[in-house]
Symmetry: C2
DNA sequence: TCGATTTTGTTTGCCAGTCAAACTTAACAT
DNA sequence: ATGTTAAGTTTGACTGGCAAACAAAATCGA
């Protein structure tokens, strides 16, 4: 069975590396089988990769072989210590960062409050530089081990060029953040919109390793969205990412923080739930608690039998179902992953949501599988690291070919 | 400047052929420049294609060259008479068919009322066979000239396999229409969902020749939708096409003929306008005229100053704008093409619609260009022919390589 | 008139990527 | 020992593409 039949036109060397990194220790024979590539080719390529120092043979001779007969297979794995990458998620509230080895293991993590909402590019880059130093010293790695840095940030970001058209975390517009940071930090830096990070994290470390096509929707402060088509993140035709939170589910509906009305986000995001909570809990006259607490209190009321409180959540779920049905109608993914902090609430139960979504969807073929991944806070940063990892391995393997 | 940089992993031979077919007579030098391929390669490939009989040099030596100096270029063009293809659009009302030569020129057209709503696969195939014979005799072509037939039909169709999961024009489910028709008609037959046909027609004969990514929305009996990504029709992950007409623009909104509520189609399609027309024109108590007439009368009233009648159209436009904004948010196309019979009405003026759509869309980068293409009735069949053309040339060129 | 110039198109040699098939190696079974 | 089986390697060939030298066909200019 061929799992990864298509990998665009990328060199087979990279695809083989990706495959081994994603699937963990495998024998050459299995790689050949599963990728549908001839064993001879795999031999040649893996030899190159071992030579380049990014793969290694595992002495471990557990029963990786199918039958007990025959020559036992030799497992291959990425040399985790070949290099490390850092991923950083910027938001107006804080910064989260992780350090991964090139097998994707987390070596260190860090978090810091944002110095202020928006900074000059230089300040922001320097702050990132400090976090990276911190990560390196935490894990006892050298600066020279660092292969690349990935940055995820909100706003309009062109991944391919590293150009940030606008972002709330920068007080200037139209910044070539990728180039600037690469120069200032002395390490290749790649940049992407934060909404893509979770999809990227899933693609590299999560369920996406097995799936060619899936979509990720995150619900938290806002509604994030990422689509993977044919093992690659779809960034839309103009290079800016895709956007789900501001599609209209209700013309002239609820007011969204983007200024428009009827956006999906305006029914679903933290602030949307919170403003309904304030009314439902009759807190409009008093000082209001912070948003997470407000939502927790609303949930408590609902669980205690308050029908009006429960209705707020049901309404949100219904709108989420409508949003998801749009995704299903337009992209037909085989898998739909839901992620984000709000998903620990049981009102977002997969079964119910799926049923509600099915009501909204034209039935053609099988409905997509729906998976809910709560994950930790560092997921975003992990996605940013995947960004870096992708770049670093490509460069590493690309250069090796030149040398 | 490189126009068609990416054509998936298809053989260059086919891509060159497609390019020449799409762009009309071109010199080798220009093809090389515009495709970003070395002139030597183009020479080799075009020699093969000429040898295979699908391309020819044009003796015409008009000033195809840029400067008057230098060796004059020799234009290449597809040999229109190499073979012909037929495209057929099936609906529950009628059948439309066209015959194209392989340069895309229309040689003949035919139309017939459907014998009855749904037929057995065999009846349907035989009816198609008759239409094709008619087309051939109209144009004086031989049956042996026919390279392929393309069929577009409503329902759930898997293009890759030719499998029809369900269609209103067939009275059986799960039919391998592609295989059955190929066997019975003795010519390769490809099958696709009708919503994709217009996109395909644009891709092959219309604006899509220059654009790598665009989306097509049709408004007529229903709302059709097709997306082209990277010069290829996007068919969703599960092989069924994408669907826009039944995305929700209003939860619990207007009743749609699919049985759900709030679908885009329920505000926009013929029947949706018609049912509002019936109320607005106070015709609910009398026998109602057919839908097209109803719409025309409503338009007349609106033009005569009837505010309520005008409001029906404005509301439809507003919902269309919302639907288009969803497409823009999720796919980021650089071009959006509107097509279909209803577009002759001026209420769907491109300027106004674009402005309204901009209001609904998050502003990242440039908004897509919006083009309105009314086209004729045969557009759909033309798309079906494109389907056949695509298949026939691929096979033709593929076999040539084997031989 | 006859190169010089300019552009188009062809030929050649070369290289990378890949496969098929023959071959080698390492285990177990008898 | 001698097979048997599966894993991995080597070899030779083929394909698709490029670069660069080359050939051809026109105009320009002295």
């Amino acid at each position: 069975m061929i799992t990864r039949d298509l990998g665009a036109g990328r060199p087979l060397r990279m695809r083989v590396f990706d495959y081994i990194r994603a699937s963990g220790p495998v024998s050459r024979a299995r790689v050949a089988q599963l990728m549908g590539i001839s064993p001879g080719t795999i031999s040649t390529i893996t030899a190159e990769l071992i030579e380049a120092g990014v793969l290694e043979e595992l002495p471990d001779r557990r029963k990786a072989s199918v039958s007990p007969r025959g020559r036992p297979p030799v497992s291959l794995a990425v040399r985790a210590d070949a290099f490390v990458v850092a991923g950083i998620k910027l938001s107006i509230r804080d910064r989260t960062a992780v350090l991964l080895d090139c097998a994707g293991n987390r070596l260190a993590a860090a978090q810091a409050d944002a110095l202020s909402g928006s900074l000059t590019p230089t300040e922001q880059i320097d702050a990132i530089g400090e976090m990276v130093e911190d990560l390196l010293s935490q894990s006892g790695r050298l600066r020279s081990d660092l292969g690349a840095i990935g940055i995820g940030l909100p706003g309009f970001v062109q991944h391919a060029t590293g150009h940030v058209h606008w972002s709330p975390v920068l007080n200037e517009e139209r910044i070539d953040l990728g180039r600037l940071a690469t120069e200032r930090l002395g390490v290749p830096v790649t940049v992407d919109n934060d909404a893509n990070l979770v999809a990227l994290a899933e693609l590299w470390f999560g369920l996406g390793r097995e799936k060619a096509d899936f979509a990720v929707v995150t619900v938290e402060q806002g509604v994030g969205f990422g689509v993977v088509l044919n093992h690659e993140l779809f960034r839309g035709s103009n290079g800016f990412g895709v956007e789900l939170g501001h599609t209209k589910v209700q013309i002239d509906g609820a007011l969204c923080r983007c200024g428009q009305r009827g956006c999906l986000e305006a029914y679903l995001a933290d602030y949307a739930i919170a403003r309904e909570a304030a009314v439902t809990l009759k807190l409009t006259e008093t000082a209001q608690p912070p948003i997470p607490e407000l939502i927790d209190r609303l949930r408590t009321s609902a669980d205690a039998g308050d029908a009006r409180a429960a209705e707020v959540f049901l309404r949100a779920r219904r709108h989420l179902a409508a949003g998801l049905s749009t995704v299903v109608n337009l992209f037909n993914p085989t898998l739909l992953i839901l992620s984000g902090g709000r998903l620990r609430y049981d009102w977002l139960d997969a079964e119910d949501l799926l049923a509600e979504m099915a009501d909204f969807t034209i039935k053609a073929g099988d409905p997509p599988a729906l998976r809910i991944h709560e994950w930790g806070d560092q997921l975003w940063a992990q996605g940013a690291a995947a960004l870096a990892l992708s770049h670093a391995t490509d460069v590493e393997l690309g250069l090796e070919a030149v040398a």
